[in-house]
């Protein structure tokens, strides 16, 4: 009986975790999906995520408005994306190396300006309760949903629809699959990739705002440990499909919630092992889903990472 109760607790914690923890994964992976669809990879989104988290927290603390924080985090992320896009536009520059540099630069800047905001408490984002129909407090808690989660779902659907059915989507896909073909269509490849990277950065910044303003809900230097990077791997797993990105984000969220969930019912042995679960899962998923023998379905042809 006790085991059963423990099991349901863990199960609910993981469902709740999937909803709660997945949002930053979702935003970063959608941003990365857009950037990669245009034929460029941005590994620096980890840095963008951390800087977005810091700036959102700082703005929310200074102005008292968490939503303004979200917007500013997005704009800051867009600047980072624009820097990345601008540097990659130059000839002979390796986009993976620029990503690593942006990762270090973004985290460095965030820690530099974020030092003053580690202690104070900033207003957090509100949540919407979708569990009103249930009497079970566990269900209610699990269904306390942040509006950004819903925005992320809408965004995933819009991107998925947009890639298939709009002229803009066609331009981005063509640029990513074959730069010469895009050129022949009269598309300016550099401008498309620049914009795709900047907008992708905006999404990642918003994902960072979620981290500091909702869950875990405070600004610390260890706030994101590799979530931005895992989201990049997640896009490959999702085969550059925004809807699949959403599913993969839920899966990663559940894996991330496993450690804390087990701890909540008193299993603290192997805590560090369960903390490593998301990274192990990312690696395992990549091993299982990528084969060197065949090219990946849906992979943009110009992408350096799949070559």
């Amino acid at each position: 009986m006790g085991d059963d109760a423990g099991f349901t607790t863990v199960l609910f914690a993981m469902i709740a975790g999937a909803i709660r923890v997945s949002t930053p994964f979702l935003f970063v992976s959608l941003g990365e999906c857009l950037t990669e669809k245009s034929g460029r990879i941005n590994l620096g989104l980890e840095g963008t995520l951390v800087f977005g988290a810091m700036s959102a927290y700082a703005i929310s603390y200074q102005t008292g408005s968490p939503w303004l924080g979200v917007v500013v985090a997005g704009i800051a992320g867009m600047m980072f994306g624009a820097i990345h896009g601008f540097i990659c536009k130059l000839p002979k520059v390796n986009d993976i190396a620029v990503g690593i540099a942006m990762m270090l630069f973004g985290t460095g800047l965030a820690f530099f300006f974020g030092k003053a905001y580690i202690q104070p408490a900033a207003p957090r984002l509100p949540s919407i309760s979708l569990g009103w129909w249930s009497d079970d407090p566990q269900v209610r808690q699990a269904l306390d949903v942040n509006p950004l989660f819903l925005v992320g779902i809408v965004l995933a659907i819009v991107l998925w629809w947009g890639f298939r059915n709009t002229r803009l989507g066609l331009i981005v896909r063509t640029t990513g699959d074959s730069a010469p073909a895009a050129l022949a269509l009269g598309v300016n490849v550099n401008v498309v990739r620049f914009l795709a990277t900047a907008v992708g950065g905006f999404f990642a910044g918003v994902g960072g705002a979620f981290l500091s303003l909702y869950y875990p809900g405070s600004w610390t230097e260890g706030l994101s440990s590799g979530q931005g990077l895992m989201a990049v791997a997640l896009v490959i797993f999702a085969r550059w499909n925004p809807l699949a990105c959403f599913g993969a984000a839920l899966l990663f969220g559940a894996a991330g919630a496993l450690g804390p969930a087990l701890q909540s019912i008193g299993i603290s042995r192997g805590y560090h092992f369960f903390n490593a679960a998301p990274y192990l899962m990312t690696l395992a998923i990549m091993i299982l889903s990528i084969s060197p023998k065949r090219s990946l379905k849906g992979a943009p042809g110009e992408l350096s990472i799949t070559k």
């Binding site: 590994l43 820097i83 540097i87 130059l90 000839p91 002979k92 520059v93 390796n94 993976i96 190396a97 620029v98 690593i100 540099a101 942006m102 270090l104 630069f105 973004g106 985290t107 460095g108 800047l109 965030a110 820690f111 530099f112 030092k115 440990s225 590799g226 990077l229 895992m230 990049v232 791997a233 042995r269 192997g270 560090h272 092992f273 903390n275 490593a276 990274y279 192990l280 990312t282 690696l283 990549m286 091993i287 990528i290 084969s291 060197p292 990472i305």
Partner: protein, 369 residues
Amino acid sequence: MAEASIEPTARQGLMYSEYLDRFRRSSEFVVIPLLALVASAALFSLFLMLVGKSPVEFFSLVWRGGFGTGFSWQNTLVRASPLIFAALCVAIPARLGMVVIGGEGALILGGFAAGAIAIPLVPIASNVLVMPAMFLAAAIAGGVWIGFVGWLRHYRGINETISSLLLFYIATSVLNFFVEGALRDPSDPNKPSTAPIGAENMIGPIPGTSVHWGLAFGVIACLLVWVLMNRTTFGFAARLTGGNVRAAQGQGLPVGKLVLVSCALAGALAGIAGYFEVAAIHGKANASLIAGYGFTGILVSFLARHNPLAIIPVAIMLGGIASSGGLVQRRMDLPDATVLVLQGMMFLVLLVSETMYGRLPFFKPKGTT
């Protein structure tokens, strides 16, 4: 016939301009990174002025804290040692066209393996056995770790940049899992650590200094890697693979083996950095191993253009900047992340400078070609 018609003086002139051209071309690889350093220093000065601090004070403090006195030089060199190893962990795979950024993970695991193998050995064996065992354990742990990255890359087609960074996070979990659990020394209530390896198993300083032997090993490793990469068949094959994998495969080169061996070697060197951190500084394995040397090593290798010989001075320079961090923090009331911002700017400006190669007229060969 044609050769005979060239006068001896003309031939000399030809050789002279060839020499000059070669000098012009290779000086490009020194001048452009130096220009990038100057530009990033200027950009960082601008940044400091924007946050209301004096760039002059900053750079003079960096000079004083990193290179001003004999004491600060020794401090700098102690930090340069792991940076050299960590940079080699980036530079060797880079010759094969791979961007491995998880050297920090191999360093952590190397240090952990060294500390862990010492636990059963220290009570029963003398330092003649314990020290080599620790060294080997560290090298093997690091080698297997990054060798796995190479295996994933070649046989499973998984991007080495992403997998190596994921493995870094896993390595920190492995370290914490054992150090806070099964291998924790119960007699140390403060910081979870493995049992101390004991003074007789510590590696001492180079005579006449307070700098440990890791620096000497690092310099020797750079020389050996340079010889390996530039003067052996292995290095030639590796560079060929880095230039064009398909061409190398077409030539019948064992690309898979080259990737595996290079990555394992790179990881072993990073693991050795971990060994020296444990055996020369901490005396036991604990979370202090996670100090970011692996990440700064990426910047070192890129600044040195993945040239093992250039890694030595660049590592000393960045070691100096890192060791002046404390002084800068105290005197100027700047957060410790200031060094990270400077490093990030250096990295970005350096990558932007890549675009200048072959475009500046000064470095173009002028003579016969």
